[in-house]
Amino acid sequence: MADIGPGPLHEAITPPTGWRGVAADWASDQRAFTSVPWGKVMMWIFLLSDTFIFGCFLLSYMTVRMSTTDPWPNPSEVFALTISGRPVPLILIAIMTFILISSSGTMAMAVNFGYRRDRARTAALLLATAAFGACFVGMQAFEWSKLIAEGVRPWGNPWGAVQFGSAFFMITGFHGTHVTIGVLFLLIVARRVWRGDFDRGQRGFFTSQRGHYEIVEILGLYWHFVDLVWVFIFAFFYLW
C-alpha cells in the first residue's frame, strides 16, 4: 500500500507521464492505477456509479419537465422564505449551499492534517464537518415539512405540473440520505482518529482492514462528492 515518496530512490522508478503514462498504466499486468492506493480507487469507482445514479435522476427530472404540458412551478417562489415581512427568493437553499461548501472546506483540511499525523486537529475538523452536515440535513427536513404543509405531494402540488413533487422528493431525498450516511461515517472516523486507531493500525469494524490516515482521505472523497452532487442539484433543480 505505502508508496515510495519523492526522494533519490524515486527517480529510478518514476513511471512515464502523459498519454504514454496512460498506456503504460493500463498495459501493466497487475495494477492499472499505479501509485493510487486500492481503497481510493474503489471509492472513485463507487462514486462513478453514484454519478450515474444521480445523473439518471436529473435526467428523468429533465424529461418530465420538458414533456409536461402544465407550467412548472417557479422554484424561486416555491423556495422563498418570508423574512421580516418580505419574501426572499431561494434563501434557505442558498444558506444550505454555503453550509455544504463550508463542510467541504473543513473536510479538505481534515485530510491534510490527517496526513500530518495531527490527531487533535483532524478529529476536530471531522467533527466540524459532521456538524455542518447535520445542519444541512436539519434544514432539509425543515424545507420538506414546509413544502408538505403547503400541500406538495409526489402526485401533485398547488402550483402546476404534478411531476414537481416526485422529482423534488426523489432527488433531494436521495441526496439527503447520502449526507446522513456521510455524517454517521464522519462521526465514526472522527472517533477512530481521536483514539489513535490510525497511528496504531488498528482494525476497523467495517472492513476489518488496518486503519491508516488514507481512510480520512477516502471518506473525504465521498463527502466532497456529496457536495459536488449538490452543485448540480442546485443548478438544475433550484435555479433553472
Binding site: G5, G55, S67, F98, S104
Partner: protein
C-alpha cells in the same frame, strides 16, 4: 496551482490552497444565487448557471478531491464515462419533445 504536480502519496498541500478554493467556491455560489436574485432570464440565465456550476464542480474535483495530482490513467477512467451521460441527455431531449408534441396533439393544447 500552488503546488507542483507530484506523484507523492498522502497529498501534502498547504492549508492556504484549501482556504483559497473555499473562498472561490463561496464567491461562485454567491454569483449563482445572484443569477436568481437579480432575475436574469433566458439564455443569459441558463449559460451563467451552467458556467458557474462547471467552475464549482471543477474546483471541487480538481483540488478538494485531488484529481489534479492523480495519474492520468485514473483521471480518464473516472472523468470520461460521465461524459457519456450527455449522449443520454441528447436522446431524452428528443424523446421528451416527442412526448410533449403527442400530448399537445391528442390532449389539446394545455
Amino acid at each position: 496551482m500552488a503546488q507542483p504536480a507530484t506523484l507523492a502519496q498522502g497529498q501534502q498541500h498547504s492549508i492556504k490552497l484549501y482556504l483559497v478554493i473555499w473562498a472561490w467556491l463561496f464567491v461562485l455560489s454567491a454569483c449563482s444565487y445572484l443569477v436568481d436574485y437579480v432575475g436574469l432570464q433566458g439564455y443569459v440565465r441558463w449559460s451563467l448557471i451552467v458556467a458557474l456550476m462547471l467552475l464549482k464542480a471543477g474546483l471541487i474535483v480538481a483540488v478538494f478531491m485531488h484529481m489534479a495530482w492523480e495519474r492520468l490513467a485514473l483521471v480518464y477512467a473516472i472523468l470520461v464515462p460521465p461524459v457519456l451521460v450527455l449522449l443520454f441527455v441528447g436522446i431524452m431531449v428528443f424523446e421528451s419533445d416527442y412526448t410533449l408534441i403527442t400530448r399537445l396533439r391528442f390532449f389539446g393544447a394545455g
